[in-house]
């Protein structure tokens, strides 16, 4: 334990810098992926014939290991291989693929009777989607976002195999010096980031679905 604290003390600046990169690398892809997935998931839900090809076609991308995407993207974008942008782009693709399926399924999970009732109350078109359909799909979408966010954090660590500068470098450092201190710091840091994201998403979900609180105290 002493070793861990002294390691943190002597490398604080570096850990802070890596930590900041890791936080960004894990968060931005989920936000961008969700922003892209909501319209695409809607299309997949709305036009059923598109759902099969869209969802299963995209899940092919999910079988591509992350390391491969980290490697191929530099050539596609012409970026440097160590550029964190590659990791961000690759994770955005994964989050998007995962979330399109979630959004489409979540929209489908809203009972038809509720939508009919909303229609009977005079909600039309965009109103119905934005005020009734999407909000009611939030809990299911949020469950998918939690999975995407937490697995993203874990995937970021893989990027250090390529050499991207983020908290995963702690593991590499531990391996090179056969010392446990940086590895333990890294494990705790990654788990803590994942936990914080999970809590943030849970809180946001509760804020977006006030009716759940009214029913279940």
């Amino acid at each position: 334990m002493n070793q861990v604290t002294s390691y943190v003390e002597s490398n604080w600046q570096q850990i802070q810098q890596w930590g900041l990169t890791t936080v960004w690398l894990a968060a931005v892809p989920v936000v961008v992926g969700l922003a892209l997935a909501v319209p695409c998931g809607w299309i997949a839900y709305r036009y059923k014939w598109l759902e099969g090809p869209l969802v299963s076609g995209l899940s092919v991308i999910y079988t591509v290991p992350s390391v491969v995407l980290f490697l191929v993207l530099p050539d596609v974008f012409g970026t440097k291989i160590l550029d964190p942008f590659n990791v961000m782009a690759a994770l955005t693709i994964y989050s998007f693929v995962l979330l399109v399926r979630t959004v489409s399924g979540a929209l489908g999970s809203v009972p038809h009777s509720v939508l009919s009732a909303a229609g009977a109350m005079g909600y039309t078109g965009r109103q119905l989607v934005l005020r009734v359909h999407l909000p009611l799909a939030v809990p299911v979408i949020a469950a998918g976002v939690r999975v995407a966010a937490v697995s993203n954090v874990s995937l970021v660590s893989v990027a250090s195999v390529i050499g991207t500068a983020q908290l995963g470098q702690l593991f590499i450092a531990g391996n090179n010096t056969s010392s446990l201190a940086p590895i333990i710091v890294g494990l705790f840091a990654f788990m803590a980031i994942a936990l914080v994201y999970d809590l943030v998403i849970i809180t946001l979900t509760r804020l977006l679905t006030p009716w759940h609180r009214a029913v279940a105290p």
């Binding site: 999910y62 893989v158 995963g168 990654f190």
Partner: protein, 275 residues
């Protein structure tokens, strides 16, 4: 040497040239040898994970006990950074594994101290998807079906074996599929452990000299493509297995989503049907 402008890497066109060179396919460091190792590890690890996860999942599903614990554990495991866990085990375990000898070309001499932590990591990550889908499959079973089975005089063990297991099979196999894909992908990271084979070798070793046309960036991308192809091939095979092994009474409903012949009754086990 042709370098892609800007990033100093050999261009992706070198990957095609890499694949065209027979020297990269054969030999102990070739594509074929590494694919074989990758497949072998995958089969061993997934089978071991299934041996642990399916019985436990069946019991949890049958008794309904421990669901919360397992769900929580699966979520926690998802947050564990694979690479960190692997290196942690290498640093902690490897010096204490005294096995120096090897077995054939698949397990070269001296590789056991690294192979054990690598496979443990992959194994532990493969268990949750199988476990959760197994108990979810058992729990999705109609309580009336279970009661009927018990009512005909079946013992608990018989209910599990003859009713719950076959009915949960579609979900169990879909869990196996995602576990297998995860194993194939994670094994690339496991190659970070020295002397561990598999297609990850190309990716990990390639970083020593990115510009090298045979062992550098082109080999990394080629190894990555090989992993993706392997994943797709295995996934396709398991898809066919699913169609063959699952009772036709279950698949015909869930696969084609045809409406139930009885009006007003929706087909069972069609968990994806939502309205």
């Amino acid at each position: 040497m042709t370098l892609a402008d800007g990033n100093g890497l050999p261009g992706l066109d070198r990957v095609g040239i890499w694949f065209n060179d027979p020297a990269n396919w054969w030999g102990s460091n070739g594509l074929i040898a590494h694919t074989r190792e990758h497949l072998l590890y995958t089969v061993v690890v997934t089978a071991a994970a299934a041996l642990v996860a399916i019985p436990v999942g069946l019991v949890i599903g049958h008794t309904g006990r421990g669901t919360a614990v397992v769900a929580g554990l699966a979520n926690t495991l998802r947050a564990v950074p694979t690479l960190g866990f692997l290196i942690f085990l290498i640093v902690v375990l490897s010096p204490h594994i005294p096995v120096r000898r090897g077995w054939g070309t698949i397990v070269p001499a001296g590789s056991v101290p690294y192979l054990v932590p690598a496979l443990i990591v992959v194994l532990i990550l493969a268990i949750p998807p199988i476990l959760t889908s197994t108990y979810a499959g058992v729990q999705s079973l109609d309580a009336a079906t279970r009661d009927a089975a018990a009512g005909t005089g079946m013992t608990s063990l018989q209910v599990i074996r003859k009713v719950e297991l076959p009915c949960a099979l579609p979900l169990i196999i879909s869990g196996l599929r995602s576990a297998t894909l995860q194993v194939i992908a994670t094994l690339t990271v496991a190659a970070y452990a020295p002397l561990v084979g598999g297609l990850g070798r190309f990716i990990i070793d390639g970083q020593q000299n990115l510009g090298d046309l045979r062992y550098g960036y082109p080999a990394m991308v080629a190894g990555g493509i090989a992993v993706a192809v392997l994943a797709l091939a295995v996934d396709g095979t398991l898809h066919v297995v699913l169609r063959r092994t699952v009772s036709p009474g279950l698949t015909s409903v869930s696969a084609t989503r045809r409406p139930s012949p009885v009006p007003g009754k929706r087909p069972r086990l069609d968990s994806s049907a939502t309205h």
